[in-house]
């Protein structure tokens, strides 16, 4: 670990604004992030098809078509800038040369767009964390780790401008704890195990990035907080629990920055605004224009502080208008024109207020993503000095925020949600101050699910 965040980079929540970051990032072909504009980040995946060696020609053809349609749309829409994300599918990480081949194709298309019509652009590449192929996952050794690290290296060499990941260390415990609504287990996974894996993995990712002069982007708590969000949207978990998990998950994602990540954060990392307040780095977010991939209760508020605006993922299928990635790039482009016009005309505060106010009273998950809530959670995190205490502080602050919002009638919480909020509060209060004490009890409860060696324990 090389950096500790003991103060907020953006102490005034009103300074948390879309398109502006206190530590902008330059990447790729002249793309400046967080420097006064919001850009689209387009993400896509294959349609339903076999992904193996026998079908590789068809796979490549899809990415060629996507690259061509990106160039066409970028020119037609006069995009001021563009981030493209290539999220590898598991077999493309297991076979690093496959991921590198697609990276090279997309890099070529972006290079052509830059050379032919001056598009500032960059390619983010996100290998899949394939280390959880076994149960318990073997995170610090073995063939999956070797393949993952080779994938980073080969994709960087093939033309990636930013490297990111949605890492899964501690998910094996978090999943179980989440389903049982076990806050002790959730905090143990997010605050004790996950930061240890993040530290291990991100030091290696940053080393690869340094060797290739590639920007170390960031990680996402997708496997943790987005799992909670999705289960909540299906009525399986209380929304307040998903909201608290979101706040608590920011700390494990912060560890990437402690190791040298510089952003932009990952689009599916809805904890991004908390990270922006702490680190000042640009963030990618997704919301209403990502409904092609999944539904969420934070469609507008998610945009309030973004520097990249993403569609999360869309299959390369044919729509009435054209290929789905091209259609979604158009959608994102128009969203970004509004952000940028607001910034240009000095009406960004009013526009941000609309984005926030239209969502936050309807969902606890939206409420904790407002600039004010984000600032409070970020402040609670940086006051603490170890990851466990930081995670606990984030969770407790989110409970306070939601309780106050309920009392002030700013948030409509039904009786079951209120009951759960109080249960969560009690469970958090009962947690020990010392993480070693928690470790002992959690090893008894969840020891069968995780390998201590995977976390250096």
């Amino acid at each position: 670990m090389s950096v500790s965040f003991r103060a907020l980079s953006v102490p005034d929540p009103s300074a948390l604004m879309f398109g502006r970051a206190s530590k902008p990032v330059s990447c790729g072909f002249g793309l400046e992030l967080g420097n006064g504009q919001v850009y689209p980040e387009l993400n896509f995946t294959l349609p339903t098809m076999v992904l193996d060696e026998s079908n590789w020609t068809a796979v490549v053809a899809h990415y060629e078509e996507i690259g061509t349609s990106i160039q066409r749309a970028a020119k037609r829409l006069k995009l001021p800038g563009l981030m493209v994300e290539f999220e590898l599918l598991p077999p493309m990480t297991e076979h690093p040369s496959w991921g590198a081949e697609i990276t090279a194709i997309l890099h070529r298309h972006l290079k052509q767009a830059h050379e032919n019509f001056g598009l500032p652009c960059a390619l983010r590449v996100t290998p899949t964390d394939i280390r959880d192929v076994t149960r318990p996952p073997e995170l610090r050794s073995g063939k999956p780790l070797e393949a993952l690290l080779r994938s980073f290296d080969e994709c960087a060499a093939a033309g990636a401008d930013v490297l990111s990941i949605e890492s899964v260390g501690a998910k094996e415990v978090h999943d179980e704890a989440l389903l049982y609504g076990d806050l002790e287990g959730v905090i143990f996974a997010l605050g004790v195990l996950a930061p240890r894996d993040m530290d291990f993995l991100w030091n290696k990712i940053v080393a690869v990035c340094s060797a290739h002069t590639v920007v170390p982007g960031a990680d996402s708590a997708c496997g943790f907080a987005n799992t909670a969000m999705q289960l909540s949207s299906q009525g399986m978990l209380p929304e307040v629990l998903a909201a608290v998990v979101r706040a608590a998950s920011a700390v494990r994602s912060l560890v990437a920055y402690e190791c040298g990540a510089r952003g932009p954060s990952k689009d599916c990392a809805y904890e991004g605004p908390i990270l922006k307040a702490i680190t000042g780095t640009p963030i990618a977010m997704e919301g209403k224009s990502a409904s092609c991939a999944h539904f969420s209760p934070v469609g507008n508020v998610a945009a309030a502080m973004c520097d990249l605006w993403s569609n999360e993922s869309v299959q390369n299928v044919r729509l009435l208008s054209g290929p789905a990635p091209e259609a979604y790039l158009e959608l994102l482009a128009y969203d970004c024109r509004l952000f940028n016009q607001a910034l240009k005309s000095g009406t960004e505060r009013a526009y941000q207020d609309l984005l926030v106010e239209s969502d936050v009273h309807l969902s606890p998950q939206a409420y904790i993503l407002s600039p004010l809530s984000t600032g409070r959670i970020a402040s609670a995190i940086v006051k603490e000095s170890n990851h466990y205490a930081m995670t606990l502080a984030a969770a407790r602050e989110s409970v306070l925020i939601l309780r106050e919002a309920g009392q002030k009638k700013e948030l409509d919480l039904n009786s079951r949600e209120v009951e759960w909020l109080e249960r969560i509060s009690r469970d958090l209060d009962a947690l020990p101050v010392d993480e070693q004490q928690l470790l002992v009890s959690m090893q008894e409860r969840y020891g069968h699910l995780f390998s201590a060696a995977s976390y250096g324990l």
Binding site: T45, L46, P47, T48, M49, V50, L51, L89, P90, P91, I130, D132, V133, R135, D175, L179, Y180, G181, D182, T227, L231, Q234, G235, M236, L237, P238, Q315, R416, W420
Partner: protein, 213 residues
Amino acid sequence: MKELQDLAQSVEQGQVQKVSGLTQQLLDSGVSPQTILNDGLIAGMTVVGQKMRSGEMYLPEVLQSASAMHGSLKILKPHLVREGAQSRGKIMVGTVKGDMHDIGKNLVSIMLQGAGFDIVDLGLNVSPQKFVEAISAHQPAILGLSAMLTTTMLNMKTTIEAINAAGLRSSVKVIIGGAPVSQKFADEIGADGYARDAVLAVDKVKQLLGVSA
């Protein structure tokens, strides 16, 4: 019988110790283990399933009820075996090759156990060959296949083809679930059923096995 109603209600409320205590009391008073299972435990879990479906219970509460039921089953099982009681059916589940997602599959397992079925869970990233071998070894009535990715869902088809090729298809019904799949896809690949979520998976299994409640 009031005690059986108490047991069902305690299962619904997820009272682990009370459920175990009531189970022992009922056994001691001569109530048959099969009656305790059907009219106490499964009756309670049926209400739990209904409440989950209607949004009155969250998953952690459902799992608490399931834990209470499992505690009781530990006490009941030796008695059920001695009585030669028939299982409601053996269900095998697994996430198909190439796919590491298992939350949905685990939920289906838990809900099916709660409904009184025996579960064989093969885990995740299961190859067609491993499914075939496990079907031969365990002879389940139903196989539940799970997939979360558009690039792994086709391995459901490959798995069904492997089961066909091994001559086992007539001995096992196949149901599928997971975010990218649908009833249409189930029909296309020759599966016997599709369920959108864990509660509906229990309904589908009951329907396919002709179990009424």
